[in-house]
């Protein structure tokens, strides 16, 4: 008995480690790139550990004027990424929250009341079927007339709307899997429908909400095309800022890698925090 669990434990660990390694290898490559000086960015044979590791790629992101070394020579007159960081930190959480809230309300309405008819969920899904590229210029013209180009509000509205289909469909899926009789029971006991929605259904689908929120957050955080087209100076977000690390001879892989790592940290933190909702806690009993 002990032997079996010992072996299966080892296998389990082996699998976990193997998965982690596979997942992390490109990440490690990016990480290593972020510590390499320019002459090693494309060097051959490629090395995992930089021969002359440097913190410059990270420094130039926030203090481009710093007088240390080769990379800062290249990006000396760039602007620091703090503004892009702040913009992303404003725009993305707000639009994610709005998307999830509106999505939750609508998902409940559709799931429990068939509101909007049978075709509403599908027609919302069609907003994701249209290639965004063909949509960009018409949307640009429209935004121009509204004065929303290069504004935070403009991007927030856009991101919220475009991710509504995700929120709706993902949350609806989770609501659908909550049996109705639980809610019916609470109603028979005298609770109002709104109360039921918020105090019974909502907690039951915490995991789904968290997953949807994380996904929407990631989609917004890494969105590039519309951020590029709709911002120029004031509302520039992180992905657009990454693309600006280019120069006289091609892209600056070092700072781009560094910014990529730095930009992924808030998301990593968010992802870690929602983990607790993903693992179902069975403390909430189902009222019989």
């Amino acid at each position: 008995m002990h032997k079996r669990t010992w072996v299966s434990g080892l296998i389990r660990w082996g699998i976990v480690l193997a998965i982690s390694v596979l997942t992390l290898t490109p990440v490690v490559w990016v990480l290593s790139l972020s510590f390499k000086p320019p002459q090693e960015w494309l060097a051959y044979p490629p090395t995992l550990i930089p021969r002359q590791p440097t913190l410059e790629n990270y420094l130039v992101l926030f203090w481009p004027g710093n007088p240390v070394g080769v990379v800062s020579e290249m990006v000396r007159t760039a602007e620091p990424v703090t503004r892009a960081f702040i913009n992303s930190l404003i725009i993305v959480p707000i639009s994610t929250a709005l998307s999830i809230i509106i999505g939750f309300l609508a998902a409940y309405g559709i799931s429990r009341f068939r509101a909007g008819g049978n075709f509403l969920p599908f027609s919302v899904l069609t907003t994701r079927m249209f290639p965004p590229i063909a949509f960009a210029v018409p949307l640009l013209v429209y935004y121009r007339s509204l004065g929303l180009i290069d504004t935070h509000l403009g991007l927030i509205l856009m991101y919220t709307t475009f991710t509504l289909a995700f929120s709706l469909w993902m949350i609806k899926g989770f609501i659908d899997s909550v049996p109705r009789h639980i809610e019916e029971a609470a109603i028979l006991d005298g609770a109002s429908r709104w109360r039921v929605m918020f105090t019974i259904t909502l907690p039951l689908i915490r995991g789904g909400l968290a997953a949807a929120a994380l996904f929407v957050f990631i989609m917004n955080w890494t969105e590039f095309l519309f951020a590029l087209i709709f911002t120029s100076r004031f509302a520039v977000t992180l992905p657009v800022q990454v693309s600006r690390y280019a120069g006289a001879v091609g892209r600056y892989y070092g700072p781009q890698a560094a910014l990529g790592i730095v930009a992924s940290i808030p998301v990593l933190v968010a992802g870690y925090m929602i983990q607790r909702y993903l693992v179902r806690a069975f403390t909430f009993g189902l009222v019989k």
Partner: protein
Amino acid sequence: MHLSTRWGRWWEEDRWMGQLLILPMQLLIWFVLIIPMLIVIYLSLVSWQPIMGVDWWQAPFAGLRNYAQALQDQRFLSALGRTIGLVLAAVGLEFLLGLALALFFHYQEFPAKRIFSSIILYPMMLPWVVVGLCFYLLFLDKGPVNYVLIQLFGPGASVQWYQNPLLALMTIVLADIWQWTPFMFLVIYSGLGALPPEPVEAAMTLGASRWQIFRHIVLPMLKPVILIALIIRSLEAFKIFDLVYIMTGGGPGTSTESLSLYLYRTGFVYGQLSYAAAMALLVLILVALVARLMVRPLEMELESR
């Protein structure tokens, strides 16, 4: 129904409450999307480029000419077929991998689960610019992948990944799988976590085997979640642009050009906004038809509950 009077709690009447709940969504979609959509449809019916020197609302009418041209455009049709292939390959593999990972995490016990699942989720969190660059660099002729191959198999093992269209497509699919398997994992894992435990417990007390429980109880309950994940991911994969742009630029020639990349070239490099609009609308119709087919089993599933 029971306790509401004519004047009180009117907002709980099914009819009203449902409408109220979907109202914010309707408003937002109408406000933001409808007008540009109308403009797109208009553009597809005229013949307009900014460099023609006329304003877009003065452009000459072209009827269905753009659509006819698109349907005969070899480059459009190949891009379409190629993109469908990419989606099938990428999403299929992502699903299988994500399912396996989610089951593993759900049913196996090991410490620091949160940390490991964060690790698995990480690829999704990098900005796509960086992911594309990373994989582009990895598969360069003198990049790490070839280096490892040479170390393992000798100097002849170096592969020119980007010169052969099939290999180039494979690298793109690989990058996509790496980046988006976490999504499948995320959705299925949270789906597993949200399942009520009673049916499983009941079946276990009845002596059902693990496999039977999985196949006849867990899997059917997961079906809506799986279908949603597949639909969402497929829709997104269909629009794949960034990875192709950074890694191959659609080359050599147009042999790895995805649909979105061709639309981008047509609209933003050649400036043919009308033609791009028509092609995009064709894509919309096609995808909507296919998606309708995919969504139907989901709806029937819900009806049967």
